[in-house]
Amino acid sequence: MRRIWNCYCLEVRLLMTNLIYWAANLIGIAYMIVSMAVNKNSVLYEPCQTLTSSAYLVFAGIFAFMVLGFYMVRIEKANYCDEIFYSLPKGFSSKIISKILALITGVIVFTLLFTIEIYISYAIAKVEPIIYWKSFLYIILYLTIPFIICGFIGMLLALTIKSRASYSLMIILWILLTSSNELIFDVLGGITRGRGTKLLEKMAFFFNIGQTDISLSYQNTYGFPLEMQRWYIKFFMLSLLLFVILFLVVSKNYNKTKKPKILITIIFSFIIGFNVYGFMLPTQVLKTNDVSENPGWDERDYYIQNREANYANEHNFNIKAYDIKLSTIHQIKSETKIDYIITEETDNLVFTLFHGFRVKEIKNSRNEYLDFEQKGDQFKIKFNSKLSKDQEDYIIVKYEGNSSAYYFANEQSVFLPADFPWLPIEGSYNAFTFVDTFSTTILTTPLNRNKETKYKLQYKGPKTLCTNLNKVNKDTWEGTANNGVTLVGGMMKEKKIGEDTIYYPVSINNIDKALNEYIEEGQNIRKQIEKDLEYKVDNGNKHFFVDIPKDYFLSVNLLNFKDHIIIDESYLNNVHNKISKEYLPRQIINSDVINIENYSKDITYLLGYAYEYWYNLRFTNIEIYNILEDNIENLKQLMEWDKEDLNKCKQIEKEIRIRESVKDYIDKNKDDEKKVNNFLKKWFREMKDNSNFTSDNLEVLLNEEESR
């Protein structure tokens, strides 16, 4: 120990008097200071973004610390004293072990300076204590451990490769170990002509020890990506590298003695085995890219292949109550008791449950196992005898698996909206719908059941949990809801304004004024809609601000489940501490019109656009918020892109024409408020009454109104 300690002190002394090390440190720290100075607003209002923007620094740091590790091993060679040390008793092992410790010290010094810098910015922004803790973990996961890993790699290269090939290898490894490794795997994907893409993606994810996407902005709802798998991968790499280095050291020092080698192999086999076990556990949802902007490709591919539900929709039972035991650690595990009542005699019941969850067993009230068949997003229970009308009973369904890349649930964060079938619901539907119209996309099917149901939830997962149910005790929630249960767990915060409760991500900083404004303006807009369209806007008094996955053209930024609403957090413009109220009218309307039958029709959304245009024409600056015109321009652009697809162009042309007609009508009659309101009111009612309402119906309606 005395030897190692003395070597360690010397190595640290050499490191701390090394100008290049300090120059690299200062460049890193200066980069963060400059980026904070340039983005002052980000420091104050998006403090977590300040930290994730360090991805570029990590990218450079991975190379810098690899070079440092390499240099630390080669320093004796450069000073012509390597042979002296390696001919001393335990000289090689003492030197290498002390270098490992010195490298770790060097990394810790750097990350400590970095942490202090970040914490100062947090203190200025007055962030919540949880952000300090999560940031600490983030720094360990994305700076400290990766820098140690690449330092070890540099050391290993210096120990094993004597030629100059090691320099080129360092650059190749730099690419492989950062997000730029996609370049390598894209090329490999090209060579394999798309075969094994999933495996290549997994490999790219595995080898990237920095941030998954260097340009990815901070996801307020998801928080810092700190999933267990990322830790396992990094600890696996760390322990494997440490094992190889120590094995080399022992082999060199005790080249003919087996005992130390066996000892090291046994110890590290346990450590590496543990990490491999952790890594091999069933994969959880990893929010590896910005799915809010780019839909999860897995879902897209799946719903292109599976456009229809697997069973007929028989409406033969209703669910009266759920008693849910739910864990979202690693992946979802649920044991749910479902009380049902039969509405039509049947010998089978079909439920909808997202296909990522696999049903393990189903028992009836007599504790007997029931036969079932799970296909895609549905499972069917077959009973031995007929279930008669009005018969009431319960089943217990055990299922587990991964939720969607859109709607995640793991130990990191949870976002399971009420219209996503994370709970088995009656009927046969697909969780998502592939829409192959002029704006090809997939959308969440709005599975609003509209049936009063009792819920009891016992939850184990990321704290804090926000839900439309009422908290009974530490881990239990209860309540009655018509349209399902929303769960949002993780770095969330609660604020009460009058009767309303707002749940929003902790990371949205300095937002009090905007939240007050949201409640006030939201009420004003709702009142105006109620007045204009003569209907009651009912959205309860629980408001969840989360990051709703958005599709390119048909953005759904507000989901109304009557007892609570989910609204996209981008509406909170915390840089200006205000709400982007101009877009609210459309969202409120859309959330009321959209239902499972008309969901995929673009025409559904046009009403929202039209009303928003009409609202902003009267109450805000239409030059800035002319959504209808923007929408027409977008469609023209789309037509330009797809000009070779004549059928599609024809369809888009029709959509443009109808939008222009609506806009012309509103423009022409803007001084006659009653007339425009009347037109919109009729349109709204017809859409609510007729799920097959099309562009043609709208044209007829327009013509009728024009002729008045």
Partner: protein
């Protein structure tokens, strides 16, 4: 066979397909042992093997009861000064020696460092940084680090290369002094160094030991082969190139030439062979056979 001898039997070293050392067998007695040979003969390879830095194949390799199979036991009694040597540039002489003393497991570090500094006459330079040392000082520092902990085996590779004559003499004396307590193996291509301090010598060429023995024994191998002849300037210029000239000295009467020859040289006088004569004779005769 003394228990303090170093015994090497059938040592072979390969670099890939290249055989760098071939069937080396030596018995090195306490004192100073010289490894002599031209550049590329395999001296440094053998030295590095002895310093436990390179693995190799051998039938037997031991120092008394210590075996090279247990490298750590050899390192415990080893002091090594490689051919190309320096230390961390910004460390002081004292700090660097302290570091090595700790690594060698020395119990009283300060005392030992002091002793070594005085022994190599570097006590006045203890605070100097390594980068500020002259070539001679650096070599002395090299010896200082090698003798820390009183090693029983000291190995020095080309220790006098680049030293001026005065430093070289000092260095030889230092090694002679150290040989009282340790076995010293010195590798060099400078015959003068070997002749001045070694008791026994092995001549290596092309990875093989050509000859080994005491210096008088080696000298005897070249007996009756060394000739001295005086030539005029004209004769010297027209001298046949086939004659193996060892040395030529310009005198008032022309040139005094020292030659190696198996045959009688006309007007030549037999001379007492030196180690250099023996070395050149051995390389010329046995070395060619090896090649």
């Amino acid at each position: 066979m003394s228990m303090n001898n170093i015994v090497i039997k059938n040592l072979n070293k390969y670099y890939g397909d290249f055989k760098a050392l071939s069937n080396i067998s030596l018995e090195i007695k306490p004192g100073i042992f010289g490894l002599l040979g031209p550049n590329g003969a395999g001296k440094t390879t053998l030295i590095r093997i002895l310093a436990t830095l390179l693995p190799c194949e051998y039938e037997e390799m031991r120092f008394g009861e210590l075996n090279w199979r247990d490298g750590e036991s050899i390192r415990e009694i080893l002091g090594y000064l490689p051919q190309k040597f320096s230390m961390y540039k910004n460390l002081s002489v004292e700090d660097a020696l302290e570091h090595i003393a700790v690594l060698k497991g020395t119990s009283n570090v300060d005392e030992e460092v002091n002793r070594c500094l005085y022994r190599v006459n570097l006590a006045g330079e203890r605070k100097k940084k390594i980068k500020a040392l002259s070539g001679g000082m650096l070599r002395r520092f090299g010896i200082a680090q090698a003798i820390i902990g009183n090693p029983k085996l000291i190995i020095v590779d080309e220790p006098t290369t680049g030293l001026d004559p005065e430093e070289r003499i000092k260095f030889r004396n230092l090694l002679k002094d150290l040989s009282r307590d340790a076995t010293i193996i010195i590798s060099t291509h400078i015959v003068e160094d070997i002749e001045a301090i070694c008791q026994e010598v092995a001549i290596l060429d092309k990875g093989q030991v050509l000859i080994t023995g005491t210096i008088p024994e080696l000298k005897r191998t070249a007996e009756n082969k060394v000739w001295k002849v005086k030539l005029s300037e004209d004769e010297y210029r027209n001298m046949p190139s086939s004659l193996e000239t060892i040395r030529s000295t310009y005198t008032d009467d022309g040139y005094e030439i020292r030659l190696l020859s198996e045959n009688t040289i006309k007007r030549g006088v037999k001379d007492e062979p030196t180690l250099e004569d023996c070395y050149l004779y051995t390389i010329k005769t046995k070395g060619h056979k090896v090649g």
